[in-house]
Every structure is written in structure tokens, then in C-alpha cells.
């Protein structure tokens, strides 16, 4: 059992996208429960990949391909039944209206998911109303906003203002980041948190919702 799970984990780290499905099939055939395949195989591999990124052995292209490999394996694994991913919390993530730069959001998303959070990815150029309605519908604990342009960061303030006007019992925290966004700006617009890069974004989310649902 351990052997195939280790192979799945290694497959993620080594970015062997063509091999991942056959390994998942082998694991399922061996009657290993789906949760173990996910946690000890797929997720373990992605955590190891991010550790390599932290050590500057891997860079963004490697992290993206590791995540591609994980997602391919996960899609197949899901076809065998429900997986209890034991989400640490739910995050609605968007690049704000007027801005189409996706890279920052995608990297933070990969790292949040590897850290056990469920991320609802709304994509780029997303209207404030759509972001807020999605967060309410999904009962998200966090709204994460990204902007890479000085001209669109004002949309972050709009989301925070519109959210504050909503009469809802539990308001999600709003965290912000992106090339042009600073800690000072985040404080000015009353964001609940700011992060300058992806690993720090994970730490910020851990601090804000403490791994609780």
C-alpha cells in the first residue's frame, strides 16, 4: 500500500503527468481507500513540491506543472467516489474587475489548496457583486482579491465597502494582494489582511481562520 502512495507522491514532485492516472488506478485496484490516496499520495506530493519552491530548488513553472499533475490525478480519483478532503476552510478568490492578470491568483490558489483549503476560483475581471454573492452563497470564510494594476486596485475597496453594507450574520474576511498592492493600502481600505507573496498568503489565511471551518 505504502509503495504506490509514495509513487503517487513522487509522481507529483517529478511532474510525471503521463504516469499519474495509471498510479491512481493501481492504488484504487489495490483497494486503498480514496482519502488515503488523496492525503498520502497526491496532497503529500504537492506539499513536497511547495517545500522545494520555498527552498528555491523549484520555481513557478515547476509548481504549476506539479499542480497540473495533481489535478489530473485528482480528477480521476474523484470518478471512483467521494473524497473527504477535510477542508480547513473555504476561500472565494478573484482578480478584480478590469484586471486580467491571473498568475498571482493561480499560484496562491495552488498553495492554499495544497495547504488544505478549498478555493472557489472566480477567475479574472470579476465584478464586485459577483464576488460578494459567491462568497455568501458558498459561505466562504475568506474573500481573497488580487490586482496587478494600479488602475484596478480601487475595486478591492469597492468589494470591502459593498460587503460591509450587507446585512449578513458572518462576514467573510477580505484579504488582498498583487504587484501594486501594499500593506499600507490594505490598511487604508480596511482589508482584514495583506500578503506580498503566495507562501505568506497561506500563513495569513492560517492566522485568520486558524484552520477552522
Amino acid at each position: 500500500m505504502g509503495n504506490v502512495l509514495k509513487q503517487i507522491s513522487d509522481c507529483i514532485v517529478n511532474m510525471e503527468e503521463d504516469e499519474i492516472e495509471s498510479l491512481i488506478q493501481r492504488a484504487v485496484k489495490s483497494e486503498i481507500d480514496l482519502d488515503s490516496v488523496y492525503i498520502q499520495g497526491l496532497k503529500d506530493g504537492m506539499v513536497r513540491a511547495i517545500e522545494l519552491f520555498d527552498k528555491k530548488i523549484y520555481h513557478l513553472p515547476e509548481v504549476i506543472v506539479c499542480a497540473d499533475t495533481l489535478n489530473k490525478g485528482l480528477n480521476l480519483l474523484k470518478s471512483f467516489g467521494d473524497i473527504n478532503k477535510k477542508s480547513k476552510g473555504k476561500i472565494v478568490f478573484a482578480v478584480v474587475k478590469g484586471d486580467t492578470h491571473e498568475i498571482g491568483k493561480n499560484i496562491v490558489k495552488i498553495m492554499l489548496e495544497a495547504s488544505g483549503y478549498e478555493v472557489i476560483d472566480l477567475g479574472v475581471n470579476v465584478d464586485s457583486t459577483v464576488i460578494i454573492e459567491s462568497a455568501i452563497k458558498e459561505e466562504a470564510q475568506i474573500i481573497a482579491l488580487s490586482s496587478m494594476m494600479t488602475t484596478t486596485m480601487i475595486e478591492m475597496e469597492r468589494v470591502i465597502k459593498e460587503l460591509s453594507e450587507k446585512n449578513i450574520k458572518y462576514k467573510p474576511h477580505v484579504i488582498v494582494g498583487g504587484g501594486c498592492v501594499s500593506k499600507k493600502y490594505a490598511e487604508e481600505i480596511l482589508a482584514d489582511g495583506y500578503s506580498e507573496n503566495a507562501p505568506k498568503a497561506v500563513k495569513l489565511v492560517n492566522r485568520l481562520i486558524g484552520g477552522k471551518k
Binding site: 520555481h59 506543472v65 498568475i103 494600479t150 501594499s182
Partner: protein, 314 residues
Amino acid sequence: MFLTGDNAYDVYENPQKQLEIAKLMDKTFPSDFTYSFCDGIIFCETIGLEVLKPKKDFPSVLNHPIVDLESLSEFSVPDPYTSGRMPVNLKSLSLIASAIDKPLYVSIQGPFTLAVQLAGATHLLRSIIKDPEFVEALLAFTTETVRRYSVAAQKAGAKFISISEPGAVTLNPERFDKYVVTNVEKIYGDLTCWKSMHICGDTTELLENMLSCNIDAISLDQIMNYEFVKEKIPSNVVLIGNLDPIDLLGRGTTEDIRKETIKLMKIHRENDNYLCAFGCNCLNDTPVENLKISINTGRMSYEELDKIKIRELI
């Protein structure tokens, strides 16, 4: 845009309007150079990407259609003299260069950043590992696009061309050399005007690689510590920057701006190769007075600068 009430395309499509704006900019914010209106979208628009065109903001791309060799083969390198809006823009550059007696500065998107726009950042980075042949072909396409346009801009009167490569901040130094240095050198090699490179974000690890290019000047983001950076800049390269355009110029007081500008100039007092400027693009709603105080302070003489004591700035 807030000075005249025009939207971006009113200006892009009208050389006379470009000249009018350049004159107004020069009168309101006099600097060492004259400028055309920022046009970071011209390559993507000419190549045929779908573009978001807000009324009071700069345009940006909405789709990234070039994802493999097959889709790349459907596009051709634009001719700056016949393709899309490029001839109109060259006419604008020519008008400004001949009407304003200052060197014309033109910022041009670099080949890697253009590739990011065409393929999407995530997909391009993924392809570095999964489809390196596509990445090489795409960069050959974007390099030739940027090279042809840069040469045409120089012929139109540009005296200072800055290649802007913000997308390259996602690369590690080895890949930066392979995908950026190699290609921008092909462009710089065909230019005789002053040449510069600008990259936003944290470029600490890329600084040496940037400096290995054949450049006359380098411009870095406001997050870079110029006290540290200046030690690494050779005397024949001008360091440009790096006042914070957001928290300082956009939201600071005029007194804060004056102090920070003076502090930055004092850091470089002994360096002949320093040009006081902003770290990146300003916010659209930056107060006019903030820009004026920054520019006026940045242009003060050494005599005036030396009279100001550091303790007065605390």
C-alpha cells in the same frame, strides 16, 4: 486622462491629440524627456487579441489565444508601417519628437511580457517545462514583433527606448538569461538610441542578469532598496527611479513627497549616474499637486540639495 477628460482611444487614434497631450504634460509636469501616451496594448491589439477598453482607464487583454505551435501559426508578425494602429502611433511619435525640443522617451513592452499576454502567464510558465519548443517559437515571434516596432519607433524620433519586462519577474536567473536576456539583446542590438530596461516587483535576484544586457539605464520598482542597489550599478549605466507611485505619490501629502524625493536624491548625491523618477506607473487619480512637487523637487540643483540637512527630513 484626468487632465483632459479624454479616454485612451481618443488619444491613441489621433496623432494631433497625442501631441496636444504631450505638450500639456510637458507644461504641467516638465521633465527631462517628452512622452507619448502610455500604449502597452498596441502589440496585443494589432496581433488581434480581444481587448477590454474601459472609458477612463487603460485597455488590457481579455484572452490569451496562442497556446501551442498550431495556434501560433495562425498569427503573423505585425508590420509597424501597415498593421493595425501601429502606423498611427508612429505618426504620433514623429509629431511629438519634431514639435517638442526634448528627447522623446518611449516605453515598449518586452518580448517575454508580450508572450505572457499572448499565451497567459500560467500557461507560458507551464509550457517552459511541458512544451519548450512552443516557448522558443513564441518568443521568436514576440522578439521580432518588438524589434521591428522598436526600430520603427527609433526612426520616428524616439531617443530613449525602455523595454518593459514585468512578466519576467516570474523567472529565476537562469531562465531569465535564456528567455529574456537572449531576446532583448536582439532588440537592443538594432537600436542606437539610449536603451533601458524596467521590471516591476522584486528583482533582487535578477539585477545582475538585467545589467548583463546592453543597456544605458535601468529602472526598478519602488520596493527595491536603492541604497543597496546603487552599489551594484556600473558607472556607465544610469539608475532610474524609484519613488513610490502608489502610497507616496498617490496618497501621500506634498510634504511627504518633498521629503522622500530629497532623501532619495541625497542617497545618490555622489553618483553621476542617477535619474530621479517614479518606481512604476502612477495611479490614474494621483493629485496633480503631488506630481508637481515631486518633479520640481527632483529637478532641484545640487546647490539647493546640499543646503537641506538630513535632520530636516525626519
